[in-house]
């Protein structure tokens, strides 16, 4: 993991409330990490669902400039279910889902609500169910910031610590 200072740190945008939020709020957050050609992100949360939500929040911060108040008429959602053979691959798929949905819907990702992240023991598979929150680019609410080509496996990690979980990823921009 890089030892460089955080690239940008903004107050976390409101995330739609989770059904059962058991993560300690003070442990949640994200940072963007400098990289010579690309951009990294680090998310942390008390549980895996919160972790993947924070990764979406980091992605949102990287890719869009949003106004504080999003008119309800502009909001949209995309429901996704992802399966992968392990937790790292699931993180790769999740970040790439954000890339693709944003591109195909021509919309900014404003956040996500992750219903569940199930991980089978001994790398026997992982699954995520989530709703991605979007607002269209082109209006007054959302302006494009950095364009992401893809998430990468480079230094991609999802690790559990005593205080919760941490995800580190690098994105090709």
């Amino acid at each position: 993991m890089t030892t460089s200072p955080p690239m940008r740190r903004r107050p976390r945008r409101p995330v739609p409330p989770r059904v059962a939020d058991v993560s300690p709020l003070d442990s949640r957050g994200h940072e963007l990490i400098p990289h010579t050609a690309d951009v990294g992100l680090m998310a942390r949360a008390g549980d895996l669902a919160g972790l993947f939500e924070e990764a979406a929040a980091a992605f949102s911060e990287l890719t869009a400039d949003l106004t504080e108040n999003v008119p309800s008429g502009e909001r949209a959602t995309e429901s996704v279910t992802l399966c992968a053979h392990d937790l790292i691959s699931l993180a790769f798929s999740w970040l790439n889902e954000l890339v693709t949905v944003s591109e195909l819907r021509r919309s900014a990702v404003t956040g996500a609500r992750v219903e569940c992240v199930d991980v089978a023991p001994e790398g026997a598979g992982a699954r995520l169910v989530a709703t991605i929150h979007l607002v269209p680019f082109g209006g007054v609410t959302a302006r494009r910031h950095t364009s992401v080509k893809s998430a990468t496996f480079y230094r991609l990690s999802v690790r559990q610590f005593e205080s919760g979980w941490r995800l580190t990823a690098y994105l090709d921009v």
């Binding site: 400098p34 690309d38 691959s89 494009r144 950095t146 364009s147 480079y154 921009v173």
Partner: protein
């Protein structure tokens, strides 16, 4: 490491690299099965993901692997250069309207072409025919194909190996520039270093040129994403231990490798069609502004090359001619004079090597030299190479109006996000003069001409 890592640099370039993760990435690539000679880093090498950017690795076609991370997500990202009969003094009074015309004609940013979505069968045809697809529809001249690497049509493309999602992402992005470091520059030749080669390329001091840098857009990104996932499991199944999962690979000849190479070729062809369409849009913009047909303006293609691709090539290794899968990620093929894969009209001078610098300084045109075949499997640098992260560049240039600064140099800028120009400003890049000098001193290229920017269009 199975082989050494070799970095082409002098003290000026190697000093900042000593603590750079790019060195670790060069070492990681050296562990890949079937790698031949060395894991190579060109003088513009910098920190990437998986492979370093500026990395070259040749794998035995028999017993080696192909790694999508050695090509990158922007498959066949490359550079196209047009020359013209216009001279700088003719164009300076019309820089503003020309910049507006180019910016309006070629969608930039991450945008698509609204309402211009290709039907599935058309998209498949693009992926098979590449630049020829565009020329057959009137978007270009037949001579364009003669001056494009692989004639803009990589063989072996199979659209069926490209996912539905990749099709979706590419369907409305043909003829679009993209964002990040992609650009269109109108330039002027300010220095000729090898007159005979410059004449062969149609370049002379004072002549106006247009450089285009872009790739395969969302379609190519999705191809890499899809096949990286399948190779992640294939590598584990083949018992290949990787220091970085981004180096996921599959043995050449395996179903996963065959599927990737077929999809990569399809994406490469999409990129060539993309640059062909953009090149033709550039011609149309010049025609409107100068009220003169592009033919009369002499807006001919000099060359179009790929700097993110893998190719099966024949090389001499230890006195034997063998087939290798040469990965070039942020590296340009630089075949020397006489090589049969160099277009006939350039065979006497070597393959053109187009080396973008940065928006405030200069770019170079060079040609491949014999040393490239001896040292780098016929490869050289692909640009200046970044030296600062985007964040560091923005921090360094806080409070500086980059467009205004460039304007003071006589450079007109159009950008989707003017406030993001700092990320791509000159201080973010190495000095291309040094990169070219080191490449030339190593015998990889012969510099031919230097180009200064007049107009910069950024995504």
């Amino acid at each position: 490491m199975r082989v050494d890592g070799i970095i082409f640099a002098d003290e000026r370039l190697i000093a900042p690299l000593r603590t750079d993760p790019a060195l670790e990435q060069v070492a990681n690539v050296a562990t890949l099965p079937g790698i031949v000679g060395a894991s190579l880093a060109m003088p513009d090498v910098h920190w990437g993901y998986g492979f370093p950017i500026g990395g070259v690795a040749a794998m035995h076609a028999d017993g080696g692997v192909v790694s999508p991370g050695g090509i990158g997500f922007d498959i066949n990202c490359g550079v196209r250069l047009l020359r013209s009969d216009l001279v700088a003094s003719e164009i300076r009074p019309r820089l503003e309207p020309l910049a507006d015309a180019l910016f309006a004609a070629i969608p930039s940013g991450v945008g698509a072409r609204p309402g211009q979505r290709l039907a599935l069968h058309d998209l498949d045809e693009v992926m098979c025919k590449g630049a020829r697809w565009a020329v057959e529809r009137g978007f270009g001249w037949s001579s364009d194909l003669d001056r494009t690497e692989e004639r803009g049509e990589m063989v072996g493309a199979i659209p069926g190996d490209v996912s539905h999602r990749a099709h979706e992402r590419g369907a409305d992005q043909l003829g679009t520039l993209g964002s990040g470091n992609h650009f269109i520059e109108v330039q002027v030749v300010d220095r000729v270093l090898e007159p005979s080669a410059a004449t062969a390329l149609g370049l002379e001091v004072g002549a106006v040129t247009v450089m285009i840098h872009c790739g395969s857009r969302g379609l190519g990104h999705q191809v890499c994403t899809d096949h990286l996932t399948s190779m992640d499991t294939a590598a584990a199944r083949a018992g290949i231990v990787l220091p970085d999962r981004q180096l996921a690979c599959a043995p050449l000849g395996s179903p996963e490798a065959n599927a990737y190479l077929a999809a990569m070729a399809a994406a490469a062809n999409f990129a060539w069609a993309n640059r062909q369409l953009i090149g033709q849009a550039v011609r149309a913009a010049f025609e409107r502004v100068f009220s003169t047909p592009a033919v009369r303006l002499g807006l001919e293609l000099v060359y179009d090359l790929s700097h993110n691709v893998a190719k099966i090539e024949q090389h001499h290794v230890a006195g034997q001619r063998i087939a290798l899968c040469v990965h070039r990620k942020g590296a340009t093929r630089a075949f020397p004079p006489g090589h049969p894969d160099v277009p006939a009209e350039y065979r006497a001078i070597g393959q053109p090597v187009l080396i973008p610098g940065d928006m405030g300084r200069c770019s170079y045109v060079a040609v491949g030299a014999p040393g490239a075949m001896e040292l780098t499997f016929g490869s050289s640098c692909h640009g200046a190479g970044r030296s600062l992260s985007r964040h560091a560049a923005v921090r360094l240039l806080r409070g500086v109006d980059v467009a205004k600064q460039l304007g003071a140099q006589g450079i007109v800028v159009r950008a989707e996000r003017r406030d993001l120009l700092a990320e791509e400003a000159s201080p973010a890049y190495k000095d291309v003069e040094i990169v070219v000098e080191v490449s030339a001193n190593a015998g990889l290229i012969r510099p031919v001409a230097r180009l200064r920017p007049l107009i910069v269009v950024k995504g």
